[in-house]
Each structure stands twice: as C-alpha cells, then as structure tokens.
Point group: C2
Chain length 312, copies 2
C-alpha cells in the first residue's frame, strides 16, 4: 500500500502557481523554547532548499537580548551554502539590523510592523507613527543598496489587547509601507482569529487603499484551525504568495495563546489537490520536518506530517 495522495481536481478561479514563502527557520525557530545549534539551522535550510522551497526566510538580525534563539544570524549566513535560484531573505528590525544584514551580503530583507497601536507599543515600544519613522531609513538605505524589502504587517485580524482591528486600519498601514518602498506586504493573522469573510474584507480594504493584490502575501496562524480555509479564500481573491512554516514550527510568544503558523505540508497537500504548482517535494519536506522535530524533541503539529508518519 502506497501512501495516501490527494486526487488532483483544479478549481476555477484559482492560480496555476503559488509561491510558498517558508518562514520556519526564522519565525518558527524564533518561537521555540530551545536554542537550536547553528549547524542544525544550516542543515535545516539546506534540506528545505533541496525539498524545492523557493524562498527561505533564513534568520533575523534582531538584538540577541530579545531573541537569543537567533543570536547566530551572521554565523548562520556565513555557513549557508546557497542553492541556485533560492531566495534567502532575512528580518531586520531596525538600522542596526540592516547594517549587520548588509555586512552579511544579503539581497532581500524584511521589516516587521504592526497594524495596531497597542502591539507597536508592546513589540517595538513605539507608536504607529514612530514605527514608520523607524522603518523609513531602513527601507531607504536597503533600496539604495539594491535590496528588496518585504513588509510584515502583524495583528491584521485582531489584537489580543485591542480586540477587533478595522480592515481600513490594516489597509492604511499597508499603504504606508508600500509607499515607503516595500515590494511585498505579508498580512499576518498573528493571533489566528480570522475567518474567510474577514480575509476578503482585509484584502478588499488594501486594494481599495491602492495596494495592488499582486504585492500582498498572507501569513496565517492556525491557532483556531482557520489557516487553510483563510488561505483558500486569499487565493480566490488573487493572492499568489503564502507564508507557511515547515512542520508548523513557530508562533508568536507576545500574543497570548498563539500557536504555530500554517504548516507548509498542510498547504502543499491542498495545493497538490487543486493542481496548483509550487515546486515542493512533499515527501522530502515531511522528512525534513520529522528530522527537525527530532532535533527539538517534540512532535510536529502538522496534520500531514503526523498522518504520513503514523502520528509520531
């Protein structure tokens, strides 16, 4: 008996191809209690590239005091054997982070903003206006150096302190980041409360504010089990880049009850069933997630990983 496979049945209105933006090595490992050795991180990235993932967010140049898990960012990039055609963006929280990223020779950076005043205050100790003032020189200098800049917008679908977040508020933040020069925005459901109608509302608000849908990516957390239904909704609305985390690694430690990102394997299963190209070898990816779960000493939360490996 071979393993289960989805039957491939395309659905009208969906794209031929989706770009999976893999965040496991950064967003995933950043939120694990264990500090993973740098050689294991390098091996993780090598395996993810070999499994066919086209974009691997490799690490973050955040200050080690805040995220000790990624204190080895420069060392990791130095060890990394870059695969042909694979993009390796890194997160930079501020100008100091950008300096370190430029020293490491990266070609693609990401900044991490908030859609809400409260989370900007909690995560960055800044107001929203101060957040933009902090990001402006980062983006400007990165663009001048020939880098591409992705903008994360977190708390787009709710905030644990503010509760509901108006789609127009998200759109306003998104527009400012695009005007600043971000080539792509990743709209994050950091606490995982969003549902499909809400996804359409946020995407519609962004487009109405002048942000083209081709510049939007989605970043769903599966805290309330909604990530894949929301992803399907975003694909129907024209989004072509989806963030996911191998094996479902990660989450957001600042958001109470937030659990992992959408598992890349669960996304790949749906895309395979829909006949949407992505370039990933699912078995190689599952093997990588099982290996990483062993390094972390805990099982993967991905449903696909658990099903294909006997619930281990």
């Amino acid at each position: 008996m071979t393993r289960d496979l989805p039957m491939t049945v395309p659905s009208p209105g969906l794209p031929d191809h989706v770009t999976i933006y893999e965040v496991g090595a950064r967003d995933g490992l950043q939120n694990e209690a264990a500090v993973v050795p740098v050689e294991v991180k390098a091996e993780f990235l090598h395996r993810l590239a070999a499994a066919g993932l086209p974009v691997l967010e490799a690490t973050s140049f955040v200050h080690p005091k805040w995220v000790p898990q990624l204190a080895d960012a420069a060392d990791l990039l130095n060890r990394l054997v870059r695969a042909e055609g694979v993009d390796y963006p890194v997160l930079v929280p501020n100008e100091r982070g950008l300096d370190r990223a430029l020293e490491a020779g990266v070609s693609h950076v990401a900044i991490f903003g908030s859609a809400t005043e409260t989370f900007a205050k909690r995560n960055l100790n800044r107001t929203l206006d101060e957040q933009f003032a902090m990001f402006a020189p980062v983006v400007q200098r990165a663009l001048s150096a020939g880098l591409r800049v992705r903008g994360y917008v977190s708390m787009c679908f709710g905030d644990p302190w503010e509760g509901a977040v108006a789609p127009e508020q998200v759109a306003s933040v998104a527009r400012r980041l695009v005007e600043m020069g971000c080539h792509q925005l990743s709209l994050g459901d950091t606490i995982g409360t969003g549902t499909p109608g809400h996804v359409d509302a946020v995407l519609d608000a962004c487009v109405a504010a002048g942000v083209p849908v081709r510049q939007l990516a989605v970043h769903f957390h599966d805290t309330y089990g909604q990530a894949l239904a929301n992803t399907l909704t975003a694909l129907r609305r024209g989004v072509r880049t989806v963030d996911a985390s191998a094996g479902g690694l990660g989450g957001c430690p600042y958001a109470e009850s937030a659990t992992g990102n959408l598992a890349t394997e669960d996304l790949v299963w749906m895309l395979d069933g829909l006949g949407i190209g992505h370039g990933v070898d699912l078995d190689a990816l599952v093997g990588t997630s099982v290996w990483m779960a062993e390094q972390l000493g805990r099982p993967s939360p991905s449903r696909v990983v658990r099903a294909l490996t006997g619930g281990a």
Copy 2:
C-alpha cells in the same frame, strides 16, 4: 482581557444558517480505545444538547462484538433525557440493529454504506450490490414505521486500498440510497485526503446524478488538515448540513492513519466569523469537550479547544 473572538464578516454566497450534525457520541466514542461508562455518555449528550446542538447522533446498534464501545446503546437511550427540539438519530447497521432501535423508540436512524467495493468488503463483508440488498429492507421497514433514514456514504474522496475514487462512483451510490428512501446523505471523506476542487467535483456529480444538494451533508476528517477548507467549499456549493465531532473525537479505525473528525468547535469558530447561524454556545461546547477529554484522559485535538484552554 476577554477571550479571543472572531470578527464577524459575512461572505456573499454563504447561507444564513447551517445545521451542525454532531457525531461525537457515536462516531467519536466508537473510535476511542477506552470504553466510556454509560452514565458518562448520557451526561455528554445532555451537555451537548444544553450547548445548543440541534442533532446528536447518540449511539449505534451495531453488534457489540464489532464495537464493544457502544454495547450499551439500549441502556444509554433508556437513560437519555431528551431535550425539547433536539433530534437523536442512531446508527443501525442492519435489520437486527433496526429491531433494537425500534424497541428503543427512536424516530431517526442512519445506515452506513461504502462508496467502494473494497471498503464494502472490508467493513461489511459484502459487495456493493449486496450492501444495497442488505440496506433495502432496513430502509423500507424504518420508513414504514415512520422513521427518517440518513445514509452515510464512506470513502467518497479516496480509499486506502483502491486509492482514487471516481466522483461518478460516489454519485451512483448516493443516488441508489436516495432512491431507496434516505432523506439525507452524508458524504464522508473517511481518510481525509479530499481538497476543495475535489469537493466541488463530488457534489457536482451527485447533483448531476439527480440527488438534490439540499439532501446532501458533508462529513470531513481532518487527517490532512483539509476539513475546514473543504467545509467552506461545500457551503459555497449549497450544502447546509455539516457533520462534526465535539472536541474532534473519533476517526475510523479501519482506515490506516485516519484521525479525528472535523472538530465542532473549529467549525463553530468559522461559522461565527462568517455570521452563519448554528445555535451553539461555543464556550459551553468547549467546556463539554474539556470535560470529555478528562474522562478519556487525553487532550482534545481541536485547535479551538486547545487555544481557549491554554493548550491543555
């Protein structure tokens, strides 16, 4: 800080109301290793009714040799204090099961068929034609006694032995069960491999074969994480009854690697976000699932239950 809530944003093309057909007490407990005491089962059903669930599949009159977990079916129905307006169907595998259900005074029964020859052989030790021959007198006698009869069709989206299952094959089985007199068919993704385009294809095939969509229900397993995206797809296609299991209890022990049903809580979260009525009090339901998880001595696999109770 109050608990997280989805923001309610309706989506065009979705219904105002969905009927949740709760299968936890039957499909869920049937597939648990532990045999739950009859008084715990009665309490479970009382709590589910109090939480607002409108349909509770209570038990099965299958032979105790095959499903010892539900050997107490008659005793359970005898203890059950039926809530006003709540429907309590029971599964009957054959005429002997129907006899026992009639003795217990039920008004709604369900039969459990297969979409594939191989699963009919494995589960019922019959060919598909023999399956229909066995069900015909069950349905006829139930209808004569004034009962309603639901028909389950299992393995609609794949079979662990046959692999892919043609949507036309599913539609043919569905049509025969409707012609026999079933008022509703529950199309089951028993191994959980289905994806959204496949859901549309199966529903389209059934409608093309003459089965009205208003008579169709869907029963998704979350083995590969696809259950909620598939449910959303079925709702867009006109389905108005969705099977789910409180806390994600259950699965199918005959299907290798099959894990639990769609968790009722995860479904309720999506319906709340979409502004679709269902009548269920989510907090009361979560409390019930946590209580049942304690009885079973293992955590609930529902994402919503875990998020709202701190990952317990």
